[in-house]
Symmetry: C2
Subunit: 526 residues, 2 copies
């Protein structure tokens, strides 16, 4: 009835975990169950991989995303059958949109047990198909180590369009407990494809023709070296530089290349790009409306605007922009960086504007910012003259990402301060992040924009032309009855916090939290 071949001292689970460690995996964020006990035992035997527990799988996957954005490397998650995986999917969706490498290890019943239809049995593959670029669901004890090496390779292999870089290894318990031949050697690492000379030449020629030209830089196209080369081209030729509305990570602030960010609403994007003759895509696609609206186009470029693609998401944007800069004689141009300016500290009552100003005025050097709120997103532009920073946006629109991503970023960069700017609606989804922050003593400051509503929905409802919001509709946007008390909730998870009374108080709380090791939660009425 089962593969009972534990002849060696090394079972499949240990061979898998040792292989992943050999590949370079350093972190496993886990929420295990009974079917993963041998994997827990394996993690116990391989302390080279740091094991971190989370109370909800959306924290595991979101933290692995944050870790990947800050290191470029995959963390592993350990998840319990279909339901455990399902709980992680919203943040796997965001991670796919961020192109973050990640290895999900999902425990399952042995194949021979699945026919008995025990309560936790479900079709896990259907779930994995939603977000995975690589799936293996029929591992045996003897293939598990190689499957792990292949999963690792898959996370670093760039895939076309928006397939992402997430590998999912669904592993029957018998593969974990069965005897194996031990760990395998890592595969060779995949490389990004270089783009051809004709493409560089074609785009260079178009730029030299002149006109109103912009680059839209996404994914690999906003990595620091890519941005620096784009900046040189911009300085030389006058092209404008944009990132998408919600980039996975952009390093900004004084000393980093200046770049504009596309706004959110379709009308705003069309207005920003008005008069554009030519849009050059680097690592992304033509801007699309976040949602569909009646009578508003889905693709957001001015009529008659030409579009060229320098490099696709899976291609080497750094190489392409470096060669393009050289071809245009811009290789030795200066990089135009954000300037440092003194931001006055706000005073008086809190509102979205004064909260943003408080953040900008108090930013420490090297702050990592994770946003999951309208206010947090709006803060980006106001914070780029304060201090060098890494800004991690809500890539896939699935709220509940900011807390977990901040947690993972702090695990990746223990020496940098992290600020999570969260809406109260989104933060409620994955409030369990607080607990892992407390357990690991992570330097995460969480700032809650407490407007006590799904405020974006009030805005969107008005966009339908509904001026008279009925009682039932209003109740479905209102999360202020009862009001959420974030300081109490954080205390429930072992994290200290405070209500900011006014703008001065908020500045003081932010500065104190940045200076003090460990997590802290600040509730600010927005």
């Amino acid at each position: 009835m089962q593969n009972d071949q534990d002849q060696t001292n090394i079972n499949g689970a240990t061979a898998l975990i040792e292989t992943l460690a050999n590949c370079g995996v350093e972190l496993c964020i886990a929420n295990p169950g009974t079917s993963e006990m041998h994997l827990v035992q394996a993690l116990d035997r391989v302390p080279r991989i740091k094991s971190v527990l989370a109370l909800f799988e959306g924290v595991c996957t979101g933290a692995a995303d944050g870790y990947a954005r800050m290191t470029g490397k995959p963390a592993a998650t350990l998840l319990h059958l279909g339901p455990g995986l399902a709980n992680g999917i919203a943040n796997l969706h965001n991670a796919r949109r961020a192109n973050s490498p990640m290895i999900n290890i999902v425990g399952n019943h042995p194949n021979y047990h699945i026919g008995y239809d025990a309560p936790l049995t479900s079709n896990i593959d259907t779930l994995a198909r939603n977000y995975s670029s690589w799936i293996k669901s029929e591992s045996t004890a003897s293939t598990l180590a190689q499957d792990g090496a292949d999963a690792f390779t898959a996370t670093l292999r760039q895939t076309p369009d928006s397939q992402g870089q997430i590998a999912t290894l669904i592993m029957g318990a018998d593969a974990a407990w069965g005897g194996s031949g031990g760990p395998v050697a890592p595969n060779s690492l995949p490389q990004r494809a270089k783009i051809d000379d004709d493409t560089i030449e074609g785009i260079a020629a178009k730029i030299e023709q002149g006109g109103n030209i912009a680059f839209l830089l996404e994914h690999h196209g906003v990595s620091p070296e890519a941005l620096a080369n784009a900046s040189k081209i911009s300085v030389k030729t006058g092209c404008r530089l944009f990132t998408g509305t919600f980039p996975a990570r952009v390093d900004g602030g004084p000393g980093n290349p200046e770049v504009e960010r596309l706004p959110y609403f379709p009308e705003q994007i069309l207005q920003t790009l008005q008069g554009l003759d030519h849009l050059i895509l680097v690592g992304g696609q033509i801007p699309a409306s976040f949602f569909a609206y009646r009578g508003i186009p889905g693709q957001l470029i001015p009529e008659g605007c030409q579009v060229s693609c320098l490099s696709r998401v899976e291609e080497d944007a750094i190489d392409a922009l470096t060669r393009l800069a050289t071809r245009l004689g811009a290789a030795n141009e200066r990089v135009k960086t954000f300037e440092r300016k003194s931001i006055p500290r706000p005073s008086g009552e809190l509102d979205t504007k004064s909260i943003i100003q408080a953040v900008a005025a108090t930013m420490p050097e090297g702050l990592i910012v994770a946003t999951d709120s309208g206010g947090g997103n709006a803060a980006h532009a106001y914070c780029q003259n304060s201090a060098p920073n890494s800004w991690l946006a809500l890539t896939g629109g699935a709220i509940g990402q900011g807390g977990p991503v901040a947690t993972g970023a702090a695990l990746a960069c223990p020496d940098r301060p992290v600020l999570a700017m969260l809406g109260d609606g989104g933060a409620a989804y994955t409030n369990q992040s607080f607990w892992t922050q407390a357990r690991e003593n992570l330097n995460v400051t969480t700032l809650i924009f407490a407007n006590h509503s799904y405020n974006i929905l009030n805005v969107e409802y008005a966009r339908l032309g509904v001026t008279d919001v009925g009682e039932i509709a209003a109740s479905l946007f209102d999360i202020g009855s009862p009001e959420l008390d974030w300081v109490a909730m954080a205390k429930g998870f072992g994290v200290a916090g405070a209500h900011a009374k006014d703008a001065e108080d908020l500045c003081r709380l932010l500065e104190e939290s940045y200076k003090t090791p460990g997590p802290f939660v600040i509730q600010a009425r927005a």
Copy 2:
């Protein structure tokens, strides 16, 4: 570019919601986003359906499950694209295992917008396939009303094996906003299939042959009328009666038919059924081990035990048991019911035993109990002599079900007290339930067994033969560092609570909470 045919006053969304109301849907538990704004508008126009907001989709789906278990009727959920659905899947898995009817309405981009690959785009169908018995993903404004009527019918159509009764309607925003022909009439209601006379006769003949015989009653087979007839057969013939380990709902306590419940671990089930000659399945399958273990069989009946099936999950167990009772001359036998006994109130320190005793000693009449913990499950047997009750178990093994199910049961039965007995691990998954309980002033008492660990995993790890638990493994079972403060967390969501100091205090807190309208949370160190 879009179906802009809003020629009538009724758009697809309103036609859908009016149709669902006409079918008999009375509750929609929602977490909407921009793509569902027209549905919100429709809910605003159709107050016959009560709209309830939840802060996390797992609460929506779990509450709809609890509502279905108490009413037999589907509630609707309103979910936001793939990620919103994904957040609800763990409890949809549990609801599928409970055979609960439910209609999920999942908003999506219009088809014409999907090609632009906006951030929230994903393959929603792959997710829906995990748990749905019915999926429609290509609705238009003109089909939406009929699709809603069909979804309603699908939730009441019994499906074979463990396909469940959950319908998922994935609806592009253009179907919602486009013009429609208005609501449609409900379809006729499906009926359970009756089983044939030969099957009744064959099983009656086997029972009359004598021997050690047991019924395993599940799903329709544990509905009150089915249980009463099974009890008559038991009284007449000496057959034993069992429910499965985790039934969706059993009405027990004084006055209700006495029935044993199968234990959890495979060895315990085998021991319980030792010596059995013949097992008669009613609405379920041969007991399977919850997890697979090396060297332990997956199907848990003694060697040589015959198995017959009286009725399958989709067939009419009430009719089958009524006819079988008549055939066996048991129609006029008495029903053996649980007796009422006085349970002494516990005193002194809290542990799992004294907590269970406190619950049993203080049970009010008609209590609805939702469990999501080892302690809560263990309490079942001890509580059946206290007061009539409806007991809702964790059907699918996906923890985080108890709070949402309790919320839905309270929405279904506002005049009955509800007790959620949750483990601290499981309750952390869907703590957002507290908020909906506060908002709707639901009579839910939540009792947290705070053992500060995933204790079942300590037990399971020991079952692997691991006696020396390493530091990393221990850390992955320990949720006590930091300790969760449930009274603070509940306060964060607007719910009052208290720490029970000892067994007397727990009795007092339980009784006070049952008497007081609205939710209350009690943390008890287990």
